[in-house]
C-alpha cells in the first residue's frame, strides 16, 4: 500500500512536470502547483504511514536505470525526511500559486519544479547506490535549473549558479567515490547489504568512505568550508525555490551523513565524529557571524542555514562520539536532538524564506538597508516573519528552543567524563551553541527589526502592499507548525525517536520522557514547553489587563522624539549595516571588512567637503582565501597547458614518435 503511494507520488510528480511542459501559460502555475501538492501529499502519506507502522515501503524494478535497477526502500528514518520535504513542498506550492514570476512560469521552470520536488521526496527512499546517485543528481540539476530562472534579470544569478554547479558536482564526485567504494567492498550496491557487510570492510575503506561522504553531503548541507555556494544560490533562487532548497534540500545532506555514518557504516571511531563536530562548530560560528553581518535578507537567511546545519552536525558528531565511547543512550538523545533540529529548521526556515519571498515580491528588493515599516503595510506576512524569526532565535515557546535545549541536555549529560575527547568536545559544543544562539538572536532582531519595523527607508517601500492570500497561507502553514511543535513537541518527538532508532539500529530503552514534556528519562527536571507557553500567555494577558485597567485613555500617536529637530527623516534610522557594525568591529579579524571612503572637496577649498561616499563590504573569508586561489591556480595551469599544442603539425607528430619510441623501448 505504502509502496503504491510512493510510486504514485513519483508518477504524479512526473505528470506535473509533463503538465508544466504542455499547459498553456495562463493555467500553468495553477496546474503545476496543484499536481505537485498532490504528489507531495502522496509523499507525506507514505512517510506518515511508514512512520506509524514501521514497515518500510519497498519498490524494486530492473526495468529502469540500465544495469543498475531502480531500488527504493523507505524506512522510518527516510520517512522523516520525506515528511519534512513534503510539508515544505506543499507550503511552497501553495505559496507559488500567488507568486508572480514570469520566469518561474516559463515552460522549462514549470517542468523542472515538480521534478525537483519529486527528487526531494525520492532521495531518502533510494536504497541502492545507483538509485541514490541518480535521484541525488537529479535533485542537483533540477535545483540548479531553478536557481537559473532569473538569470536574465540579475547578473548575480549566473555567478551564483556557477558556484552552485561546481560545488554540487564536486560533492557528487566525492559521494560517488564513497558509495561505490563501499558497494565494491560489500560486493553489493544495495544499502541493506552494505549495512550488513560493512563491519567486515577494511578500516581505511570505512574511514575514506565516511570522510568523502562528509565532504559530499556536507557541501549540500552548506557545511563550512564547502558552503560558499549556499549564500549565493539560495538568495538568487525565486521565493518558493529558495524555501525548498534551504528548508528541504539541505536536510538531505544531513540525511546522507547519518545514513552513511550510522546506517551503512554502523558508527565508527571517535575521530570521525570529532571531525564532524569540529566542522559543525566551524559552520555554526561562521554562518552565524556572517548572518549577523549580512544586509541582504535572503543571504542572511542562507547563512543562517549554514549556521543551523552546523548545529545539526554538532549534534550528529556528539551522537557518534557518545556511541563510540559507550554512551548509547546519550547517543540516541543527541541524534534525536539533531534530527529534531532538522525538522524544526525546515519549518521555520521554510516560513522565513517564503515570507522573504513575499517581501521581495511586494517591495521589489531584499536589501534590508532599503526596507522598513513593512509590518504595517504587510501585516500578515510581517507577523509570519516575526514568528519565524522568534522560532529561529530559539525563543520559547516556539519550536527552535526545544531542539536546542535537547541538544544542550545531551551535551550536558555527557559530562563530567573521563574520556578526553568528550571532556574537550562537549564544553566546546556548548560554547558554540551559546555563541551562535546569541548571534542568531541579534541576526533576527536585525532582520525583523530593520525589515519590518520603523519607517520605510526608501520611497518604493511606502507603496508596498500585502501579498495575495495563497502566498501568506503557504508561509502560514509553516509558521503555525513552528508554534504547534514548539508548544507540543510530543506530536513529533516519538516519530523522530523511531527514525533515529531505525538508522542506528539502537536497542536503548526509551531515553526520553513521554508526554507533554521533554526531558531525559531518569534525569530530574524537564522542559515543559506547553506549560511555558500557557504561562507566558496567561501572564501577558494579565499584564496587559493591568495596564488597561490603569490607563484607559487611548494611546496618543505623536511624532517620534528627535531632540526637537524639525527634520526627522527615515534616513536617520539605523540600517542593517549600521546595526551589525559593532559586531563587525568586534570580529574584525575574522570578517576583515573592506572599507572604502571616498571624499571629494569643493573646488575653492579643501576644507569643505562636497560629497563623501562610504562603502563597506564583507567578503567570505573562505571564498577570498581559498576558492579564489584555487580558481586562479586552475587558470594559470590552463594558460600554461595551452602553450603546448601550438598548432605545429611537427610537434603533434613528435608526440607520436616519442610514444612509439617508448613503446619500442619498453616492449622490445
Amino acid at each position: 500500500m505504502t509502496a503504491d503511494l510512493l510510486i504514485a507520488a513519483a508518477l504524479v510528480g512526473l505528470l506535473a512536470a509533463a503538465a508544466g511542459a504542455v499547459a498553456p501559460e495562463r493555467l500553468r502555475a495553477e496546474v503545476v502547483s496543484v499536481l505537485t501538492v498532490v504528489a507531495s501529499g502522496c509523499g507525506l502519506a507514505v512517510a506518515l504511514g511508514v512512520l506509524r507502522s514501521g514497515r518500510a515501503a519497498v519498490v524494486h524494478t530492473g526495468r529502469l536505470l540500465p544495469l543498475g535497477g531502480l531500488s527504493l526502500r523507505l524506512d522510518r528514518f527516510g520517512a522523516l525526511f520525506v515528511a519534512v520535504s513534503a510539508v515544505v513542498a506543499i507550503s511552497a506550492m501553495i505559496f507559488r500559486l500567488g507568486y508572480e514570476s514570469h520566469a518561474l512560469s516559463s515552460r522549462t521552470a514549470s517542468c523542472v519544479l515538480p521534478l525537483f520536488v519529486t527528487a526531494l521526496i525520492l532521495v531518502p527512499a533510494a536504497a541502492s547506490v545507483t538509485t541514490f546517485l541518480f535521484v541525488w543528481e537529479l535533485m542537483a540539476i533540477t535545483s540548479l535549473l531553478l536557481v537559473l530562472v532569473d538569470h536574465r534579470r540579475r547578473s548575480e544569478v549566473a555567478a551564483a549558479a556557477q558556484w552552485y554547479a561546481v560545488m554540487t558536482q564536486f560533492g557528487a564526485a566525492a559521494l560517488l567515490v564513497a558509495l561505490v567504494l563501499l558497494a565494491t567492498h560489500a560486493d553489493s550496491q544495495s544499502f541493506i547489504a552494505i549495512a550488513a557487510r560493512s563491519a567486515g570492510v577494511p578500516a581505511w575503506v570505512r574511514s575514506t568512505a565516511f570522510a568523502l561522504a562528509v565532504v559530499g553531503f556536507g557541501s549540500k548541507a552548506g557545511m563550512v568550508p564547502l558552503h560558499v555556494w549556499l549564500p549565493r544560490a539560495h538568495p538568487e533562487a525565486p521565493g518558493p525555490v529558495s524555501a525548498l532548497m534551504s528548508a528541504a534540500m539541505v536536510n538531505l545532506g544531513i540525511y546522507g551523513i547519518i545514513r552513511v555514518g550510522d546506517g551503512l557504516l554502523g558508527g565508527g571511531p571517535a575521530w570521525w565524529w570529532l571531525l564532524l563536530m569540529g566542522l559543525g562548530a566551524l559552520s555554526a560560528l561562521f554562518g552565524a557571524l556572517h548572518a549577523a553581518t549580512s544586509t541582504d535578507l535572503k543571504r542572511l537567511l542562507a547563512y543562517s542555514t549554514t549556521d543551523n546545519m552546523g548545529l545539526v552536525l554538532l549534534g550528529i558528531g556528539a551522537s557518534g562520539l557518545f556511541a563510540s565511547t559507550g554512551h548509547p543512550s546519550l547517543a540516541l538523545v543527541a541524534l534525536v536532538a539533531a534530527l529534531l533540529h532538522v525538522v524544526f529548521h525546515a519549518v521555520f526556515k521554510g516560513s522565513l524564506f517564503l515570507s522573504a519571498g513575499s517581501i521581495q515580491q511586494a517591495s521589489g528588493t531584499r536589501d534590508l538597508d532599503r526596507l522598513g515599516g513593512l509590518l504595517q503595510r504587510m501585516p500578515v506576512t510581517g507577523s509570519l516573519f516575526l514568528v519565524g524569526s522568534a522560532a529561529i532565535a530559539a525563543l520559547p515557546p516556539l519550536c527552535g528552543f526545544v531542539s536546542e535545549w535537547l541538544l544542550l541536555q545531551a551535551l550536558l549529560h555527557g559530562l563530567p567524563s573521563s574520556d578526553l575527547a568528550l571532556a574537550i568536545a562537549l564544553p566546546v559544543g556548548v560554547a558554540v551553541l551559546a555563541l551562535t544562539g546569541g548571534l542568531t538572536a541579534l541576526t533576527f532582531v536585525k532582520a525583523a527589526g530593520i525589515g519590518l519595523l520603523g519607517q520605510p527607508r526608501r520611497a518604493q517601500a511606502v507603496e508596498t502592499r500585502e501579498v495575495r492570500r495563497s502566498m501568506w497561507a503557504g508561509a502560514g502553514i509553516l509558521a503555525t507548525l513552528c508554534l504547534v511543535f514548539g508548544v507540543a513537541p510530543f506530536l513529533i518527538l516519538p516519530a523522530v525517536l523511531d527514525a533515529a532508532r531505525t538508522v542506528t539500529a539502537s536497542h536503548v530503552l526509551d531515553p526520553l520522557v513521554r508526554g507533554w514534556h521533554v526531558g531525559l528519562a531518569g534525569a530530574p527536571g524537564a522542559l515543559a514547553p506547553g506549560l511555558l507557553g500557557l504561562g507566558l500567555l496567561a501572564s501577558v494577558v494579565l499584564t496587559a489587563g493591568i495596564r488597561r485597567a490603569l490607563q484607559r485613555a487611548a494611546v496618543r500617536r505623536t511624532e517620534a522624539w528627535g531632540c526637537g529637530r524639525e527634520l526627522q527623516t527615515a534616513r536617520m534610522q539605523y540600517t542593517a549595516t549600521s546595526f551589525g557594525e559593532p559586531l563587525t568591529r568586534v570580529f574584525e579579524d575574522v570578517l576583515s571588512p573592506a572599507h572604502d571612503l571616498d571624499v571629494s572637496h569643493v573646488a575653492e577649498s579643501r576644507y569643505y567637503v562636497e560629497a563623501a561616499t562610504f562603502h563597506t563590504s564583507l567578503e567570505d573569508a573562505f571564498e577570498r582565501h581559498g576558492y579564489r586561489h584555487a580558481a586562479s591556480a586552475l587558470g594559470w595551469w590552463g594558460r600554461l597547458a595551452r602553450r603546448v599544442p601550438n598548432g605545429s603539425v611537427h610537434r603533434y607528430l613528435a608526440f607520436g614518435l616519442v610514444a612509439l619510441v617508448v613503446v619500442l623501448v619498453v616492449l622490445g
Binding site: 516575526l386 530559539a394 550536558l412 563530567p416 564544553p427 546569541g438 538572536a441 507566558l536 501577558v540 517620534a560
Partner: protein, 320 residues
C-alpha cells in the same frame, strides 16, 4: 511531576515569589540608588522612590510614535510577562516551587532573552536613530554575554547532572563542599559580569546618563511614556532582582526553604531578601567606584567572562 509539597504551601510560595519580585524589584533599584547617593555624599531619594515613580507613571498618558506598529505597544507587556513566569517557576524562596521541575536554567535564560529581544524590536520600531543605536548595542552585548552565561551555567550543571535549578540548588545544599570549588568561583565571577552587562549597569552601561549618544539601554526606551514606561521600568527591575536572586540561590543557597512550613518559608523570605540586598549594595558600591567602559572595550570584558566560564567548565571536569 507534581510538587512534593502540600498545595497551600506551594501556592503561598508562588504568590510570595511573584509579589516579592514585583515589589522587591523597584525596592532593590531604590536601595541601590540610595547606596549610590550615600557614597556620593548625598541623602538621596527614599528607598521606595521607584515605587512612587511607578505609581505616578502608571496613570500617565501613553504615547506611540506615529510610524510604530503594534509591536511597540506589546513590548512592555511581554517584558514584564516573561519575568513574571520566571518569578513563578524559579526556586527563589523554596527548593520546590510550583512547576519547579520545569525551572530549567537554560529555559530561564532563554525566557530572559525574550525580554531583551522584544525590547530591541520595540526600539527599532520607533524608527529613530536612537532606537536603532540602542538596539544594536544592546543586542551586540547580549550576543556576546549569552555564551559566557550558558557556559557558566554548564559549569554549575555538571556536578549536579542537571540543568534544573531546584535540583542544582538542592544538591549544592547537600554538598556544601561544591560551593568552594574553583569552578564555582570562576563561574561566579563570569556570572556576575554577565549580570552587570545584561542589566545595563556600570561599567557596561550607565543607567542614569542623559547623553543619548552614550546610551545603550536607555536609548531603547526613550519613546515609552506613561503606563508603558512604568511596565518597562518594572520589568527591568524585576529582571535585575531575578538575576540577583538566581545568583544568590546558585552560589549562596543557604536559607532557602527546603521543606514546607511557615517557619521555613519565613526564613527563606528573609534569607533571599538579605542576600539580594547585600548583592545590590555591593553592586551599587562597585558602580560608584568604576567608570563606564568605552563601548568597544565591553566585548573584552565579556570575552574575559567567557574565558572564566570555560575555565570553570574545565576545572569542573578536572575537579569533579
Amino acid at each position: 511531576m507534581t510538587s512534593a509539597w502540600p498545595a497551600p504551601s506551594v501556592v503561598a510560595v508562588s504568590v510570595l515569589q511573584v509579589l516579592g519580585v514585583v515589589v522587591g524589584g523597584p525596592l532593590l533599584v531604590g536601595l541601590m540608588r540610595k547606596v549610590r547617593c550615600r557614597l556620593e555624599g548625598r541623602v538621596g531619594p527614599p528607598v521606595h522612590q521607584p515605587l512612587l515613580d511607578l505609581r505616578k507613571l502608571a496613570r500617565r498618558e501613553r504615547t506611540r510614535p506615529d510610524r510604530a506598529s503594534w509591536i511597540f505597544s506589546v513590548v512592555p507587556v511581554v517584558l514584564v510577562a516573561t519575568t513574571l513566569v520566571i518569578a513563578l517557576v524559579a526556586p527563589l524562596l523554596s527548593t520546590d516551587p510550583a512547576f519547579g521541575w520545569s525551572a530549567d536554567l537554560f529555559a530561564l535564560i532563554y525566557l530572559m532573552l525574550i525580554g531583551s529581544v522584544v525590547l530591541a524590536l520595540g526600539a527599532l520600531d520607533t524608527g529613530t536613530a536612537f532606537g536603532g543605536m540602542g538596539a544594536s548595542r544592546a543586542m551586540t552585548i547580549g550576543a556576546l554575554s549569552e555564551p559566557a552565561l550558558l557556559v557558566a551555567v554548564l559549569a554549575l550543571s555538571i556536578p549536579a547532572h542537571s540543568s534544573n535549578v531546584p535540583t542544582i540548588v538542592a544538591r549544592s545544599l547537600a554538598h556544601p563542599a561544591w560551593l568552594a570549588t574553583p569552578q564555582r568561583l570562576l563561574s561566579l565571577v563570569a556570572f556576575l559580569i554577565v549580570i552587570v552587562a545584561e542589566s545595563g549597569r556600570l561599567p557596561v552601561d550607565n543607567p542614569s546618563t542623559h547623553l543619548e549618544l552614550t546610551m545603550i539601554h536607555e536609548a531603547m526606551i526613550l519613546e515609552y511614556a506613561g503606563a508603558d514606561l512604568a511596565l518597562i521600568k518594572l520589568g527591568e527591575s524585576m529582571r535585575l532582582i531575578v538575576l540577583l536572586a538566581l545568583f544568590a540561590d546558585l552560589f549562596v543557597p543557604w536559607g532557602i526553604a527546603t521543606a514546607p512550613g511557615v517557619g521555613h518559608v519565613v526564613v527563606g523570605v528573609v534569607a533571599i531578601g538579605a542576600k539580594v540586598a547585600a548583592l545590590g549594595v555591593a553592586l551599587a558600591a562597585f558602580e560608584v567606584a568604576v567608570a563606564k567602559l568605552r563601548l568597544f572595550r565591553v566585548p573584552e570584558l565579556l570575552a574575559g567572562a567567557f574565558v572564566l566560564a570555560v575555565l570553570a567548565v574545565i576545572s569542573a571536569l578536572v575537579v569533579p
